[in-house]
């Protein structure tokens, strides 16, 4: 029997240290996978590593990446928003319809063409704000509210456009999605700026750190003086606005607003976020991780496409790859994804 006169300082330390070291690199868990995919792509196809091809991958993923950025923040704060994919379609469709004449499929309201972009962003704020109101103030389940909104917003778009694509889109609306700045598409620059801002805010601003506190333990966050409802509401609105920006870029890239614009994207959004290490339970994950999830999915998709996988099989292979990616991530990070 030893008489220890001082309390043991070292006893609880080692596991903590290991865990911490581990958490530090978890963020970069997908980087080797991305490098591996680049190598596989290069081996399978000579044009894979050309700037043209890589820029194409980035451009294709730019819209998805903005949705993932929004969804990642919403998941970190402990909520989820399924309606983002419908916002991608409805906001541009409604904004354009308020401007163009009925002969072109519009609503014949005849607002000035310059209003298209501000109007579109405003619609995003309204949708996010409404989601927040129903979830936080009325106290409804976030999953069900946004599931309802998913269907309702898509239905609204079909009703406004009578199921047709809007082709007569104002010039200002097409600019961002189709122009190039310094050799890269504007869409890619916008994503870079948004992610850089997001990563900075979530790491270095008190407001950003409060997302983790709220998602990790909202009661503790409240007791620490964080205005929990305000944080969640803001994040929901930012998520919707990012979805609107994605919709604007998509409209510009394709030159019209399709009735199905954004449909089905939400599954990829969740897949990319979870592969990127964002926990569906809230409070965990980083935006850098989410971004690497998006890039990984983009590279896989491009490899499949360049290999000429038949259109009939590409969806199945894509789904299989998502599950495979989840398995890889599961073992790369050593953590269960609940």
């Amino acid at each position: 029997m030893t008489k220890a006169m001082t309390p043991p300082v070292s006893a609880p330390t080692p596991p903590g240290k290991q865990k911490f070291q581990f958490a530090r690199y978890q963020d970069l868990a997908l980087v080797p996978v991305i490098i591996l995919l680049l190598i596989i792509g290069a081996v399978l196809s000579p044009i894979f590593l050309t700037p043209g091809n890589l820029i194409a991958v980035l451009t294709q993923q730019s819209e998805l990446s903005l949705l993932v950025l929004g969804q990642a923040m919403i998941l970190i704060v402990g909520k989820m928003d399924l309606s983002l994919e419908s916002t991608v379609g409805l906001a541009p469709a409604l904004a354009v319809a308020l401007i163009i004449p009925a002969s072109a499929g519009g609503l014949d309201v005849g607002l000035a063409a310059w209003m298209a972009l501000p109007l579109c962003l405003l619609i995003g704020v309204a949708i996010g704000g409404l989601n927040g109101f129903l979830i936080l103030k009325v106290g409804l389940s976030g999953f069900m509210v946004t599931l309802g909104m998913l269907t309702m917003l898509r239905g609204l778009q079909l009703a406004i456009t009578e199921g047709k694509s809007l082709i007569d889109v104002p010039e200002s609306f097409l600019y961002l999605g189709s122009t190039t700045w310094f050799g890269l598409p504007a869409a890619v620059w916008i994503c870079i700026v948004c992610y850089a801002a997001g990563i900075f805010v979530l790491k270095y601003l008190r407001a950003g750190r409060s997302l983790y506190a709220v998602g990790g333990n909202s009661e503790a966050a409240r007791a620490a003086g964080i205005r929990v409802d305000r944080v969640v509401w803001t994040v929901l609105i930012i998520g919707s606005v990012l979805a609107v920006v994605a919709g604007i870029l998509m409209t510009g890239r394709l030159g019209s607003v399709a009735a199905t614009q954004g449909e089905g994207m939400i599954f990829q959004v969740f897949a990319a976020a979870v592969i990127g290490g964002i926990s569906l339970q809230g409070g965990k994950g980083t935006l850098f991780g989410a971004l690497s999830g998006v890039l990984m999915l983009g590279l896989v998709e491009q490899i499949l496409r360049l290999q000429g996988v038949s259109g009939f099989y590409i969806k199945a292979s894509y789904g299989a790859v998502i599950i495979l990616a989840l398995i890889v991530t599961r073992f790369a990070t050593g953590q269960k994804q609940e």
């Binding site: 309390p7 043991p8 330390t13 290991q18 911490f20 333990n217």
Partner: protein
């Protein structure tokens, strides 16, 4: 049949580089209540998980009533030998009491579930153990006390005659603890053996016959409770001589300068309470769990909205029900339950400690150094400010909550159960912090059931049914105070 309900010998268990149990043993006589005490991190929880078959020890052997322990995979066999009522509830809240009692054997061996039969069996079982709960009520509607009784009844119904109670009293109030002890005694008469884990040494003397002390993953001593004085017990736990060294603070300078004024405040479960605290004054609030003392303190900090009344700090009124406003006015708080409200477990010590105070920008280096300062000033045992608080022991977690409450240098401190579930050493250091803050001219309100916490106070107000019924100046007698808390007049 052996005379021992459970024997563990030479048990060693490592987690990574941490030695959680170092060649320890315990011998629990059939029919006794055996206390296991030790500071946080002494190895109590690990021994419980080894004794219940949740963890396989690296070395050592375990036997129940003379039979060697079953293989770990055979959960059913373990459950027949030993049952454990954990601090955390292991019942399913949205299912009925009856279903919880027979969970995973709802068919009672018949293949199909007969709900009528299940309910009848449950009634019989509840009657046998004298638990006054309806079998068809949902577990989520039960009180903590009733929930524990259901868990004990379930354990006994499986056939186990050896029950481990892991800090069963932590969430109970005085009368409920007494009822639990009565029940333990009567079950003991029927031949049930208990292993009782608690941080309240007084309870060990009340209900146990033998006590085992662990310290730093080692077995220190096992002795009959009657032969172990309280100072001896504390010495065995801490390795240092002497009892609990709580600063009584009777030499604290007093002042006429009022900081906190609460006038005729009413809210959830309390009404019309007025009090004022001056610089350097520590006020204790005592009362049973339903007395409204927690609600009052939470209202002062803005976690709850008052219905009428005002709170003012240094003469200016504080908006009710608004935590950021309270923080700005200079009120800091250690909330009631550190897991529920105090900490974000996945975040680091530094981040938790600075959560209330960080400016608009959070520079990791500044945060880390603030975390390091907190670790040093509040004596937190941790590897560094980046360590997640989930790794820390209870006492050290509570120090992080204290650090957060004090981070903004508040002039008023509201401390709710500040030493709940922490070991003797951490208790001393936490109460030392309260005393030091008072000496720096801060006012504090300490809400607690523990007499040790209240000893640091200059005066103690006793709440009963939401109103202040008695006030004690320093130097109160334990019996007097307890009588007032229980609502008995001892005039």
């Amino acid at each position: 049949m052996s005379e021992f309900a459970a024997i563990a010998r030479g048990v060693t268990k490592r987690f990574g580089r941490t030695l959680a149990l170092d060649d320890v043993g315990i011998e629990i006589r059939a029919g006794e209540s055996h206390a296991l005490v030790g500071r946080n991190g002494a190895g109590k929880s690990t021994l419980v998980s080894v004794l219940t078959g949740m963890q396989v020890p690296d070395a050592g052997e375990i036997s129940f009533f003379g039979e060697p322990a079953p293989p770990v995979a055979d959960r059913a066999a373990w459950r027949r030998h030993v049952a454990c009522v954990y601090q955390k509830s292991t019942v399913v809240p949205e299912l009925s009491v009856a279903e919880n009692l027979f969970i995973n054997r709802q068919d009672l061996g018949g293949g199909l579930i007969s709900w009528k039969k299940l309910k009848a069996e449950a009634s019989t079982l509840l009657e046998t153990y004298d638990v006054a709960v309806r079998p068809d009520s949902l577990v989520s509607t039960l009180t903590v006390e009733q929930r524990q009784l259901v868990e004990i009844a379930r354990a006994l119904s499986i056939g186990s005659r050896f029950v481990i109670l892991d800090e069963p009293t932590a969430q109970l109030d005085g009368p409920a603890i007494e009822r639990l002890f009565d029940r333990m005694r009567s079950l003991q008469d029927k031949g049930v053996t208990f292993l009782f884990i608690s941080h309240h040494l007084q309870e060990v003397y009340e209900v146990c016959q033998t006590v085992t002390v662990y310290r730093d993953a080692r077995h220190i001593v096992t002795a009959p409770v009657a032969e172990m004085s309280k100072p001896d017990l504390i010495e065995a736990m801490t390795g240092e001589a002497g009892g609990l060294n709580v600063p009584s603070g009777d030499d604290r300078p007093s002042s006429e300068d009022q900081i906190l004024t609460v006038s005729s405040l009413s809210g959830d479960h309390f009404s019309d309470i007025s009090l004022s605290a001056s610089r350097g004054e520590v006020i204790g609030l005592a009362g049973s769990a339903s007395s409204g003392k927690h609600e009052f303190a939470e209202t002062v900090y803005g976690l709850r909205k008052p219905s009428v009344g005002t709170i003012s700090v240094n003469g200016s009124a504080v908006r009710g029900g608004d935590v950021p406003a309270a923080l700005k006015a200079g009120i800091g708080c250690v909330p009631r339950d550190r897991h529920h409200q105090g900490l974000v477990l996945d975040l680091s010590i530094a981040e938790n400690a600075t959560m209330s105070t960080a400016g608009a920008f959070v520079w990791p280096s500044a945060q880390r150094s603030a975390g390091a300062t907190a670790i040093a000033s509040y004596d937190v045992k941790a590897s560094g400010p980046d360590q997640p608080v989930s790794d820390l022991s209870g006492g050290n977690q509570q120090k992080v909550v204290m650090a957060r409450a004090l981070a903004g240098d508040p002039s008023v401190l509201v401390l709710i159960n500040p030493t709940a579930g922490v070991d003797v050493k951490s208790k001393e250091s936490l109460l030392g912090v309260v005393d030091a803050q008072a000496r720096r001219g801060k006012a504090a309100i300490v809400v607690s059931d523990e007499l040790d916490d209240l000893r640091v106070c200059d005066r103690v107000l006793v709440l009963f049914h939401g109103q202040v019924v008695r006030e004690f100046a320093r130097g109160w007698r334990d019996q007097e105070l307890i009588a007032a808390i229980e609502g008995m007049s001892s005039e």
